[in-house]
Subunit: 144 residues, 2 copies
């Protein structure tokens, strides 16, 4: 298995609401057969009805929304960008669950959850190099 | 906000078990301060205690494991690779929740959940071009 991820599918309660939320953040996607596809760097972010996603995965869904034990992170290039994006997300309907603040690792970050409860950390982390194309490189911690 | 994701953090009950599982799939990571970091294409896949992740996100965790409304997908280059990877995952302790089969879109895919209940679809999807570096491109559906 190569170390890569092809798609991240977020289960949502209301596809139109979810699409509008991500569009309010500036994302542009395509709706195909009640599914929204966004190009997200070298992978795809997908929005799909949560009940259909659970059925498709062959699993039982014991809750209808909320934290699912996964968090996504979006790293930016400055602390000011963290503040801007969290403000934009809040205006778009997100709930800020951790206001932006300095972090123990010397960065600056905050967390919002989208209308379906999916958590996004927005972080400026000088320790994780961000390339021009937005990809990140996990540092070699042994060399730090 | 640029259309990209920097990190995906999976909340886990037992960090050693989770790291062993992903290593059994062939992934190589680094453990730093009770966190495991894997380079995954242009982003990082992170394993961290689920309770710490919830606390860090500022959210309440209403369940301790299981489906969280998110699925990851790993696309491969042939149907045979789907079978191989799902067999490897099962041997490593995953539960196969949807045996590999032909899909409605003309591909071949199955789903397993990792020891913490995180769902991974393994798919051969001829409609989603897979580059040499493993990145995928969401097709322009309007042109299909």
């Amino acid at each position: 298995m190569e170390q890569r991820i092809s798609l991240i599918t977020l289960g949502v309660a209301d596809l139109g609401r979810a699409r509008s939320f991500y569009e309010s953040l500036g994302w542009e996607g395509q709706t195909v057969q009640e599914t929204v596809f966004f190009q997200a760097g070298g992978l795809g972010l997908v929005l799909w009805a949560r009940d259909k996603l659970a059925l498709d995965c062959g699993v039982e869904d014991r809750q209808s929304a909320g934290f699912g034990g996964i968090a996504l992170a979006h790293n930016v290039r400055s602390p000011a960008e963290v503040d801007e994006l969290i403000a934009t997300a809040e205006q778009a309907g997100a709930t800020v669950t951790r206001p932006a603040a300095t972090t123990f690792y010397g960065g600056y970050a905050g967390v919002f959850v989208d209308p379906d409860g999916h958590a996004w950390e927005v972080a400026h982390n000088p320790g994780f190099p961000l390339a021009a194309d937005g990809s990140i490189t996990v540092p070699d911690f042994n060399s730090l």
